[in-house]
Symmetry: C2
Subunit: 360 residues, 2 copies
């Protein structure tokens, strides 16, 4: 999926509910406070902070200043402009899966495009889920007095807000917290699941299986809810026997083949594209053809896979680009925060794995 | 492939050849030079640069300063520490495919790990190949007085050095230039092609086809050269009839099936994993099994594909993590620059698409 397609996809940034209060933010510790605590002048603190080794300061005084800095949690200010304005023209982006998943790249792309539009540069830190790296990354961003921080996860999940994040304005991207006032943007899983099922309904399928993930996640609950809604809207009673579970990768999809074939469905909606890719292999081994014997829809529109399976896979795109862009808009106050996370539309993408056929 | 596996893979940073001279770098234009050119005091220039709107400066003077800034190419300095030291604790990374390929993520990961090790933060800009974005990104980095810039491309290629890049120390990552003294780190395509072929040779194959890419690239030449070297080392005469060409994606690999089967090879080495994925589909349609009827090796060790094909694909990993890390080391002068680009080892990864079999 090109970024242009993604960019064209307008966000549905939640209902017009009243904005909750911004999270409480402690006032930053000043140089003066450090000086007062240490019983020295601000000039002395400045010399210690800037590591002027040749400045004539008694070692005992230097140590007292350092103790005060540590006790108060003072952060030295890295930038000239920052000394005047209090914030820089940086927005920080903490991401946990830049290297190991293809999803973080689109979040970066969307956040950067939107940040640049408003005169901000993006300072990106990749943590690969390492909490020590994460703490260091947030500290570094705070020292550079970023305008705010986007905290993003590569899969949609609930998260704890890391303590140092509270020292800045922040927005959670592709994750959310139960914490009061923590602003967040997430994909609209329910709408996505509904759209995936509707692709199959529109092509005449009535007996549609859903292979959900075994792993608990907001996507698991939301996509099932969307599947049920779509069936309900079409007047088709929900049959729990048509909902299976598998590990959400190629191996999981492959191993689900036999169970799926027992259920007499004409179509299947898979939790993600990787699962659909494995199911393709399983169906082929049984001599079955897609879409004639089984229509298949995935989820994610995963780069490198979805468009390149044989036949190409119908799916629903995860709006990573738009999540990054919407996160920046919310951080800068351009988009109002919704009550609860803002939910971003997941656009359906139709390909040849589903075809027009007679009603069953 | 986990980053740990990648990190463990030591770089072969080229032979111990003498270091070429660092590229010539123009001395940065100073505030004083701007003042002299405009015939005003440095204080006046500073007021104009810092956009003090309420400073009492005649519009004509302000304009003269702006003209001098433009004419001399003066870049205002963004950071307090920078005003003293001349460089910041930032390393810039310009990347052209963060959003659209899974490869850039590992370059970012490797560069960031190495930069942090030496006390530098990474300032990343994603350009998606847009030259205007690229120019803006480099300008922004220069204004922040980065220690240097890594200029990276998502596929290995020759590149022109963008003019503003010459204002900083820079290293080309996954690309190279014919320009004298332009330091670069690239994957060792020849060794990679040799390793891919050697996997098949080690399992007793003698008649090994190579499906190369249709698109001219250093990878195309290097991987073919490696294939020929491996055959030569094994005492097998090169047969040009065994070298085919296809578009380097799934569709290309699929369409190459018939041509491959005509050649009577027992094994095939594909230019990349995507091509191998398409070839899997083609071979299956012919009722052939992998590896019994045809052993297959790819290249890239592409996340989401290689380990998850059925059977899992033997391949050679592109060392993106190590390219990023080696780029930082070269930028900081920790690794000496080689004569020509430093070549990073591409480690072979064996999986079930190749098996022990009787000699043909």
């Amino acid at each position: 999926m090109s970024s242009k397609e993604n960019a064209a996809d307008q966000s549905a940034a939640g209902p017009g509910s009243p904005s909750p209060k911004a999270p409480e933010r402690a006032h930053p510790v000043t140089l003066r406070e450090v000086a007062e605590a240490a019983g020295v002048s601000t000039a002395t603190v400045s010399l210690v902070v800037n590591k002027k080794k040749d400045a004539r300061i008694a070692e005992e005084t230097r140590q007292r200043v350092k103790d005060a800095i540590r006790a108060l949690g003072y952060r030295p200010n890295a930038m000239a402009k920052t000394l005047v304005s209090g914030t820089s023209k940086f927005i920080g982006l903490v991401a946990d899966g830049v290297a190991t998943t293809p999803f973080a790249g689109q979040i970066i792309h969307g956040a950067q495009d939107e940040a640049w539009k408003h005169g901000y540069a993006l300072l990106i830190a990749n943590t690969e889920g390492n909490s020590e790296l994460e703490r260091d990354a947030i500290s570094m961003m705070l020292e550079y007095k970023v305008r705010g921080i986007l905290y993003s996860t590569w899969f949609h999940r609930q998260t704890d807000v890391p303590a140092p994040l509270r020292e800045a304005d922040f927005v959670l991207v592709n994750c959310f917290s139960s914490e009061q006032g923590a602003r967040a943007v997430v994909p609209d899983e329910v709408q996505g699941g509904r759209s995936a099922t509707e692709i199959l309904l529109a092509h005449g399928h009535r007996r549609i299986a859903f292979i959900n993930a075994t792993i608990p996640a907001p996507a698991k609950d939301g996509r099932l809810q969307g599947y049920r809604k779509a069936l309900e809207n079409a007047g088709i009673p929900f049959d729990p026997d048509l909902v299976m579970e598998a590990y959400p990768d190629q191996e999981g999809g492959y191993l689900a083949t036999a169970g799926l074939l027992k259920r007499g469905a004409s179509a299947v909606y898979c939790y993600n594209d990787r699962m659909a890719m494995g199911l393709y292999d399983g169906l082929r081994e049984q001599g079955l053809s897609i879409p004639d014997d089984m229509a298949v829809v995935g989820f994610d529109n995963q780069e490198v896979i979805a468009a390149h399976l044989r036949p190409p896979l119908s799916t629903v795109a995860l709006p990573h680009y738009e999540l990054g862009a919407a996160g920046v808009r919310m951080l800068l106050g351009i988009d109002a925060a919704a009550e609860g996370p803002a939910r971003i539309h997941c656009p359906p993408v139709e390909r040849a794995s589903v075809q027009v056929r007679a009603h069953a």
